[in-house]
Symmetry: C2
DNA sequence: CGTGCTAGTAAGTTAGCACTTACTTACCAA
DNA sequence: TTGGTAAGTAAGTGCTAACTTACTAGCACG
């Protein structure tokens, strides 16, 4: 029998593996068996920890929302005000670079169709990111004009860069190129 | 028996329906049966026209690539040079507004995993769009600096807007808001 | 008017994948 | 030491969706 682990350990491993595989296959093509093989356990063992497959997505999304929230708020602690926006965006890019599946999970229409709760979380996360961006924009030496709209613009730009990075097969350094493009706009 | 149509007519209908359903369910969740029901014919009839399901995607992607190419080149005919960029982007947004599934099909990692040829077409299309953007940028009263990078920035912004529009359930007017954001950046 | 072609149908077959059942074994606590 | 709990397994079940087979029927043309 395979080495036994505690439920909490296995749950964490399953979540981690789901994110890993999501980057390779697309989030909606992950099977319980694929996760099990990757972890060296049998397929039904997965369902011991997450009775329905949707529960895995609940857990992944929960982890994602927590992590992103933490990344955003912690990035803006003690920067000089005009750097707050860049620090926020850099932290975001760094997180995506470390977890390439993040944009795929958040943006997958297939997963949203199969798993409706995802949609709400995404809208909440986008609103939260928008708020953080707006605050960072207002904190800096802002050009005149609509900070709200500028924040939406930055949000779209960041999402677009992330999507392009995923499509290209991670062919460029998203943190470096993202930072450049963001500064170019500003 | 259902009214008979020519093969060409049916093929066109199937492609159109696939795009319609892609916007509702996500591209990788479309079934041959869903298309058949929508068209009022039986499921095997689909396979008369497209022996493998992947053939439908080949046709959809081909239509998409042609249409986008046409939209881009035809938008830049007789504008005053400084308006060329905005005309190009407006044409792009208008096309997406008319065919909401376009960004989903192009960006679906599930579909890419299932149907590898898609990936190449996407990269080609992105490169083409980038070229068009760069030319439009160079044609206008360009600020100093890297037109190449500006074109990537615009491309990312446009993709980000399209993705956000799709995620929001088409909750805003992409042509109007896209135009505003693009002008804000410029 | 009939013959060949092609769009269509009903009723399969097969494969993949979520999930179940019935059992086994590791591990901790009384 | 032992007995309950929880992690694990092998071998299913059932559903969904791609694709097949064998047949039927419109339609253009000689």
């Amino acid at each position: 029998m395979t080495p036994r682990k505690t439920g909490e350990q296995r749950k964490a491993e399953i979540i981690e593996t789901a994110l890993l595989l999501a980057a390779e296959l697309g989030p909606d093509r992950i099977t319980a068996e694929a996760i099990a093989i990757r972890l060296g356990i049998s397929q039904p063992a997965i369902f011991k920890h997450f009775p329905r497959k949707g529960d895995i997505w609940d857990a992944v999304i929960d982890w994602l929302a927590r992590s992103l929230g933490r990344v955003w708020t912690e990035s803006t602690t003690d920067e000089p005000p005009e750097q707050r926006l860049f620090a926020l965006l850099d932290a975001h890019f760094a997180f995506i670079a470390a977890h390439p599946a993040v944009p795929l999970v958040l943006l997958s229409p297939e997963l949203q169709a199969r798993h409706p709760p995802l949609r709400q979380t995404i809208m909440r996360l986008m609103a939260l990111f928008h708020t953080e961006l707006r605050q960072a924009i207002n904190a800096g030496p802002s050009p005149p004009g609509n900070a709200d709209q500028r924040a939406w613009m930055m949000l779209s730009l960041v999402q677009g860069i992330a999507v392009r990075w995923a499509l290209s097969g991670h062919a460029f350094d998203i943190r470096a190129e993202g930072g450049e493009l963001v500064r170019l706009v500003w």
